[in-house]
Symmetry: C2
Subunit: 272 residues, 2 copies
């Protein structure tokens, strides 16, 4: 079984279906990112497709933190999906009668400019998923509430699209990764991810970045997250070009492990 | 007027009061971080106290993004406050009868372990603020719903504390900054913040980190945020020790400006 962040009708559902297009395994729905990653970690499901980064909102913190602190898993694949948000309400509802907008915080954030422009007086309320919001409108038959989410929600919950593609930035994409207990050892992997932390002293992070640059490795991303011990202590997530079996990347990682702490190789995989 | 993120009874309210203890200006409540920062930018209020980072949840993205993209302000001061979350419900409600927990996503995240342990069957719903959740319970007189937030909410909204200090990690602190249109030029500033972006090519970020290390400047923090153009393009926020008037920091910043783009000095201020 391969898990995705449910319920049906979310972008995660859409991404998991597209990513796994030619695989036979059955998809199963899990209700939170934390539970989804833990299910793989405990061996209850074979793998999970989880969102890790959005081009506007940034990293999905729960995914990063669960990977760092609460599981021992590898990233084995990557899939990038363009996100098209839609403002939806019950059939017959008109934009000028919308008094309330409900959705997951992510779509709300991705449409903040549109909301400020057209619905500055509307009450904003958060739900656990885009599908939960759509379902709520269907059940309460509330003509003055709209939701924001994937077009699939309209069909699944009997809503009508009032504004298609209403996200502020059109370059709105989410990167998903597939997580497994075993690393991907295939030769065509061209991207790798790592976690580490450094001493809180001058030049400590510099030494790590230097090891990467010195070995001619291209760093694609560096992200910091709190170590959760005290303010000012961080763990770092880096993505680089290359396979861990490449000589230069292997050498850079050996050098990093000599200078940094809590080093964790998160896997090599094919760019999505 | 000095703005804070309202309504009354939030941690931001508490922090603004503590930070401004000996100042005479009147505090005013603004309902979103974006509106708060824009109010200073437009000159409607003299300054704003906004949350910028939590030791568990990480950066407050709205604050970083509004500082980078939608305002021309300086950080003039910093204040760190320890956060104590409390599970609260109507007087007489018992933990075993709680079926629903409502609060802002931040306190929910900070108590995820506690919720998983004691209230794994409870429905979780997000509200716009801790105070909004407390008010909702007061108004609906719902004995089966609890909220999580600052103890001040109990007094303001007639609730009782069921579990004091229920945050998972005890080292739970939030860093607030004061924003103004003019930079803080006093000599006792000992921390500085900067924004920049770099080319998406090998070693580009390394050059910036090298300029900092070479000049003996201690980098306290580096954080990346999406540039919002496409996946894989980032802007960087760095905090360093020192005052921009210090020779070594001034020199490092000049070097960074030669290699990086969209460089923005965010101000020198006293560590909180």
């Amino acid at each position: 079984m391969i898990g995705y962040l449910g319920p049906a009708g979310t972008f995660s559902y859409e991404a998991a279906h597209k990513y796994l297009k030619d695989k036979k395994e059955q998809l199963c729905e899990v209700s939170s990112i934390y539970a989804l990653i833990k299910a793989v970690d405990k061996g209850e499901i074979a793998s999970a497709v989880v969102p890790i980064e959005n081009s506007l909102e940034g990293s999905v913190n729960t995914t990063l933190d669960t990977l760092a602190f609460d599981s021992e898993l590898y990233i084995c694949g990557e899939y990038t999906m363009y996100i098209r948000e839609n403002l939806m309400a019950l059939p017959g509802a008109r934009p000028e009668s919308i008094k309330r907008i409900i959705s997951h915080p992510q779509p709300i954030g991705q449409c903040a400019g549109m909301i400020n422009k057209f619905f500055s007086d509307a009450v904003i309320e958060y739900t656990n998923s885009t599908a939960a919001a759509a379902k709520q409108i269907e059940e309460t038959k509330d003509m003055t509430t709209a939701t924001i989410g994937p077009a699939a929600c309209a069909g699944l919950y009997g809503l009508e699209i009032l504004m298609p593609e209403c996200n502020d930035e059109k370059n709105n994409a989410t990167r998903f990764v597939e997580l497994k207990k075993q690393e991907n050892t295939s030769a065509d992997c061209d991207k790798s991810s790592f976690i580490f932390t450094v001493d809180n002293k001058p030049g400590a992070l510099f030494k790590v970045i230097e090891a990467i640059a010195e070995n001619g490795v291209n760093m694609l991303k560096i992200e910091s997250r709190p170590e959760k011990k005290e303010l000012g202590r961080y763990i770092f997530f880096i993505d680089t070009d290359g396979n861990i079996r490449d000589e230069n990347l292997k050498r850079a990682w050996e050098m990093i492990k000599e200078t940094a702490y809590k080093c964790k190789f998160l896997g090599s995989y094919r760019k999505g």
